[in-house]
């Protein structure tokens, strides 16, 4: 079976960089005859126009549908190949680039023939992957239903305004419809922004009058299900059991944060010592203060230094307002010296003219309030100066707020228990970043001012409009590498949703018993750790599947000599470091065969097990340092899976060091060489795992266990987080505590079961308990126990002969 694969292999001479070092004709001969390979050519430069021309001609002539180019760094070249071959119908995943130059040609002192052999092993592994690969059909996304703007944040109007201007009908859910009231309440969330109100009012009026607007009846958001293009929203109806439901194409959540006053330790009393939002209310409702108003920008002291500039801006705007209306008043802004002033030169000049005084204070001397005066340490003379005050205005503490938290929870965008909604800054390429900015806007996302919130709303509106127009023109397609759920296998355990960092996983339907999960392909970033964690193998990373990787590692491991081993290197640390080492001409042990992987978190434990089953004596996994994982927790997930393998190795009497996790930095290739050399030395000392029937049966059992035992997989993914973290999402728990309690014993039981199954499936004859116990050198009692379980699970049949039970595998 070769999956209709017609593979074209193109070997690059790369001028003087590959040809003299690697015996290309030998390499060609060795890979040309492999099943599935339709042609193998040596080209001077496959990456330049003439070479690309030849490849494209071959694709048309021979109907090639998979291309392997053995040349240089896939990180740099793959995109060009994908672009140039797109016209011939080749998509992501159908082209593979192997770094012959940087991983084979220059990095060792082997002879050209030996290097050709090493290259051929890597290429054959790629061929195996290509054969196992079934390209998915390109799916278009249809968004017929209207977008819904909800959440009630002020950014709603900016988003709605943008949609209205683009001529798209939308639904808007806001708690209040009177522009006057909306603006009156705005200072509670965005203080010091009065100057923007006239413009904002115009936007609100235009939105409310627009023919594209459908206002939803106010109500509490109760649920959301479905994926982009096919959402079902439900709102609670007061005093009724039923819920109002709406079909939505896209969702824009505009959520505002909450401002709370700092505690009494800042002197807050709600009368003369106020917080900014209250002070602004007072300013406009009652009167302009006469005496000295001191704005204390206390964000460094409240523990939110990142918001100091926001508060300082608000203070500055309010100060301006006071002085414009009452030139006799005094306005001082007291701020921590660490804060860069958030005003322009012109504004500073203006401030001087008006009499707003900016006073920095020593960061090591915290200002102290006393009646009528506030002390602060001066940064000029280190004296404690005093400022007279009649009114102190403190910075607010900014957070997401309970209301927004609840809404975010319902909308499934609350990924981590943090102060704000915005996820970390994703350190991946733009095409891998989720669409957060197109569905989320407002100060609940991160602390921001009104302009920023409105900009976010506008951006979300624009992105949605773009997407909707694209889909209506039939030009919106699902990204190639995204997760898909097999709903027949999904048991709705929700594990993936807890692990997923991009927020692409949600529930399929609103009501019902078990809610099978569904992946929104327009949100999924293709991180893939969820697929590797699924206890029931219900999740697949499309076009980059586990089966593909398994085929590749199996093919590579199967070719390994006694001292040779496989090293997985992640695209963000190990692989660039290895590429750079190759570029710099550094040398390392030729026993190392590097396979790239987007993130180590994508590696299912079954891949690790398979590598050993096929004969690899060792497996090295090189990833980022834990705090620096580009896919947030991928490296931690890999850590847990590696530890699982180590535990199983101990059960089997193999050395735990055979599988090792390593950390690298892309800019420290020399350090990577040390890592690889050290591991290579360890593996050489250990030698291969002897291929005795007993060992093979053990490896087979490990593979069977980690691949398909849902209990072990479930326990593994529940304890995946970093052991030093204090809070865990959902049902997850501290890995260390977990391990001591139940994991090891469960693992022991399940492993014994797996071994029993392996023996019985292989020999296909009835066994009695004593025979099995002595065969596996286990106690009779535990063997009997596990056999009992296997019988009750239906994997093993029991028959009685002379009153004694005999067991036979059902397979």
């Amino acid at each position: 079976m070769n999956n209709n694969a017609k593979i074209g292999i193109f070997l690059c001479k790369c001028g003087q960089k590959i040809e003299p070092m690697v015996d290309l004709p030998v390499l060609k001969k060795s890979v040309a005859g492999v099943d599935g390979v339709a042609c193998c050519d040596i080209l001077p430069y496959p990456c330049l126009e003439p070479g690309l021309n030849e490849i494209n001609q071959k694709i048309q002539e021979l109907g090639l549908n998979r291309i392997i180019v053995a040349g240089c760094e896939s990180r740099l070249m793959l995109k060009k190949f994908e672009q140039k071959m797109e016209a011939n119908g080749l998509q992501k995943g159908q082209i593979d680039v192997i770094n012959l130059r940087g991983h084979v040609a220059g990095v060792s002192d082997l002879s050209p023939k030996e290097k050709a052999e090493k290259g051929s092993k890597l290429i054959k592994a790629s061929v195996a992957e290509m054969i196992a690969f079934t390209p998915s059909t390109r799916k278009s996304v249809s968004i017929e239903r209207p977008p819904v703007v909800l959440g009630g944040g002020i950014a709603s109007f900016a988003a709605a305004h943008e949609l209205a201007q683009e001529g798209i009908d939308f639904m808007l859910s806001i708690p209040e419809r009177d522009p006057g009231v909306i603006l009156d309440h705005l200072c509670k969330t965005y203080p010091g922004e009065r100057t923007h109100y006239p413009r904002l009012k115009k936007i609100i009026d235009e939105v409310l009058e627009s023919p594209h607007t459908t206002l939803l009846q106010p109500g509490k958001l109760a649920g959301l299900a479905g994926i982009t293009g096919d959402y079902t929203l439900s709102f609670a109806v007061p005093d009724a059991m039923t819920r109002r439901q709406y079909a939505a194409g896209t969702i824009i959540a505009c959520l505002d944060g909450e401002l709370v006053p700092p505690g009494p330790e800042f002197g807050y009393d709600g009368k003369t010592v106020l917080c900014q939002p209250e002070f602004e209310e007072m300013l406009y409702e009652e009167k302009i203060p006469d005496g000295h108003t001191v704005f204390w920008v206390c964000d460094y002291e409240t523990g939110q230094p990142e918001n100091a500039q926001l508060s300082a801006r608000a203070a500055f705007n309010m100060g301006k307002f006071i002085l414009q209306n009452n030139p006799k008043a005094g306005v001082v802004i007291l701020y921590n010296e660490q804060m860069p002033l958030p005003v322009t030169a012109a504004e500073r000049k203006f401030a001087r003219k008006m009499g707003i005084i900016w006073v920095p204070y020593d960061k090591s001397v915290r200002p102290i309030l006393q009646a009528d005066f506030v002390n602060f340490g001066s940064i000029n003379d280190h004296l404690e100066h005093e400022l007279p005050w009649d009114q102190i205005v403190l910075s607010p503490i900014r957070k997401m707020g309970e209301k927004s938290r609840t809404a975010a929870k319902i909308l499934g965008i609350l990924h981590e228990d943090k102060e704000f909604l915005s996820t970390h800054h994703a350190k991946v390429r733009p095409e891998m970043v989720g669409r957060e900015e197109s569905y989320l806007a407002g100060s609940a996302r991160y602390a921001c001012d009104l302009t920023d919130a409105l900009n976010q709303g506008r951006k979300a509106g624009k992105k949605n409009a773009e997407m909707i127009k694209k889909s209506r023109g039939g030009a919106l397609f699902v990204p190639q590498v995204v997760c898909i759920v097999d709903t027949d296998k999904c048991v709705a355990c929700g594990q993936c949703q807890e692990l997923c960092d991009c927020g692409g996983i949600g529930v399929a339907e609103l009501v019902g018993g078990g809610l099978p999960r569904v992946v929104d392909p327009m949100v999924c970033t293709g991180g893939g750790t969820c697929a590797a964690a699924c206890p029931y193998n219900a999740l697949t990373l499309q076009n980059n599947t586990n089966a593909q990787r398994e085929a590749r590692v199996a093919a590579l491991a199967g070719q390994m000599a006694d001292h040779e081993f496989v090293a997985y290197a992640c695209s963000w640390a190990g692989l660039p470091a290895a590429d750079n080492a190759g570029n710099m001409g550094l040398k390392y042990d030729p026993a190392i065969h590097i396979l790239g992987v987007p993130c180590l978190g994508q590696l299912d434990p079954s891949i690790m097990a398979r590598a050993f089953l096929e004969g690899a004596p060792g497996l090295l996994l090189v990833g980022c340092s834990p705090e620096d994982c580009h896919h947030s927790f991928g490296i931690d997930h890999a850590w847990s899976r590696v530890n699982l393998m180590k535990k199983l190795f101990v059960f089997c009497g193999f050395d735990r060091r055979r599988i090792t996790l390593a950390h690298a930095d892309m800019n420290k290739p020399e350090e990577l060489i040390k890592t690889m050399e050290s591991f290579a030395k360890a593996i050489k000392a250990l030698g291969p795992i002897e291929k005795t029937p007993e060992n093979m049966s053990k490896l087979q059992s490990i593979y069977r266990l980690v691949k398909s035992n849902s209990r072990v997989r479930l326990l593994l993914s529940a304890g995946l987080r970093r052991p030093w973290e204090h809070t865990y999402r959902g049902d997850q728990r501290c890995a260390l505590q977990y391990e001591r309690e139940d994991f090891i014993s469960a693992l022991k039981e399940e492993f014994l079961k797996s071994r029993l199954e392996t023996v019985m499936t292989k020999e296909k004859r009835p066994f009695n308990i004593r025979e099995l116990a002595s065969y596996l050198t286990e106690e009779k009692k535990s063997v009997a126990e596990q056999l009992g379980e296997l019988v009750s699970e239906g994997h093993v049949n029991v028959q009685y002969k002379e009153g004694k039970p005999l067991y036979l595998s059902v397979n």
Partner: protein, 201 residues
């Protein structure tokens, strides 16, 4: 098909190919520095100069950006070109004296010292812009760009501060022909919270 000559050998090319691409296809090597197959050419380093002869006059063109044309005669190894390359290397040795890669290449062309004044003995970036093109075209970001003009031109992130736009993919480091990006990237990417301590040898 366009037919023309490289080093008196007739060659064929499709419209749109450059002289460099055609030459490499026919196994004729032309040295390059600021050129990389993965990104668009820019013709900045002038190392890939070839001589274009027409009758009794000739001119030098940068082969990485010069499109092929019917009947032209290209020479890749002439005295004039050799002279230009040596001049370039001599200037590069003055401009980027700290780059071992450049020094090694220069030695191959018999240039081991420079008559120009060395402004900064630690300089290793020749501002060819390969890294910025890689960041824009391959990665799809523009975390780094060429800043300032003329002799003050340099590579860096906006305001010369670490930028969160940089995803630390290392494409610029891999593509850099002088090895300067290894140093420069550290002032661009945000330093990870945990850094690996170098191991003792």
């Amino acid at each position: 098909m366009i037919t023309f000559q490289i080093n008196d050998t007739p060659v064929e090319a499709e419209p749109g190919w450059t002289v460099l691409e055609t030459a490499r296809h026919y196994g004729i090597e032309i040295p390059t520095l600021c050129y990389h197959e993965a990104v668009s050419p820019s013709g900045a380093c002038r190392l890939c100069m070839v001589e274009l002869r027409d009758g009794d006059w000739s001119k030098l063109v940068a082969s990485c950006i010069f499109p092929v044309a019917e009947g032209i005669r290209i020479y890749t190894e002439t005295e004039r070109i050799d002279n230009v390359r040596r001049w370039i290397f001599e200037m590069l040795l003055a401009e980027v004296p700290a780059s071992p890669e450049i020094r090694e290449m220069a030695t191959q062309y018999g240039v081991e010292s420079t008559r120009f004044s060395v402004k900064d003995p630690d300089e290793d970036c020749m501002v060819c812009g390969l890294c910025t093109r890689a960041c824009e075209e391959i990665v799809g970001l523009s975390a780094i760009s060429l800043m300032s003009r003329g002799v003050h031109k340099k590579v860096g992130a906006p305001f010369s501060r670490p930028t969160e736009v940089c995803v630390a993919c290392g494409c610029c480091v891999t593509i850099c022909p002088t090895g300067a990006m290894r140093r420069l990237i550290e002032s661009v990417r945000e330093t990870p919270e945990v850094t690996l301590t170098p191991l003792a040898v």
